[in-house]
Symmetry: C2
């Protein structure tokens, strides 16, 4: 996808290391709260939604401030818009119990 | 994206409920092994890669046979090809420790 395409939709997937430790739990909660300000929680450690390029930069900066870049890993898949992908699901997405 | 576009690249994200229980562990391992046959493990519970429409159907059928559709949830984001998205990462993706 050419760089100059305006990004309007993203999928964000995060892996926070040692989630069971106190420090890991704190980072997961912080990441979750930050992501919820900008995107919709889709499934465990996956957020999605429409976002402007400028808000995406703000989101990325906030996330960088709270994760441990040596341990944690976040991938952001950037798409032109909601029409630039198709989607299948298997199983039932019940509630928001997955953090 | 119009339905008739041939899908050649996917992101697959899975949430297996009660991962700590024996039954949950078994399902996670089965899902992981099936996904590894078709795609590349990217980060915890996320696979990605190039795949033909027919192999994607096979993958989906195999996954349906092993998950508990009442408890587990899998999302497959289907894209035209590797050029139809951009990608940012934050943090370090070290090893394959995330299953």
């Amino acid at each position: 996808m050419k760089k100059d395409y305006k990004i309007n939709y993203v999928f964000l997937m995060y892996d926070i290391a040692d989630e069971e430790s106190e420090a890991g739990k704190r980072r997961v909660n912080k990441v979750f709260k930050i992501c919820k300000k900008y995107l919709t929680h889709h499934q465990k450690s996956v957020f999605r939604g429409e976002i402007t390029p400028s808000r995406l930069l703000k989101l990325q900066k906030e996330l960088k401030d709270v994760i441990d870049e040596e341990l944690d890993f976040i991938t952001i898949i950037k798409l032109k818009n909601k029409e630039s992908f198709l989607e299948d699901t298997i199983g039932k997405k019940e509630n928001d119990m997955f953090i």
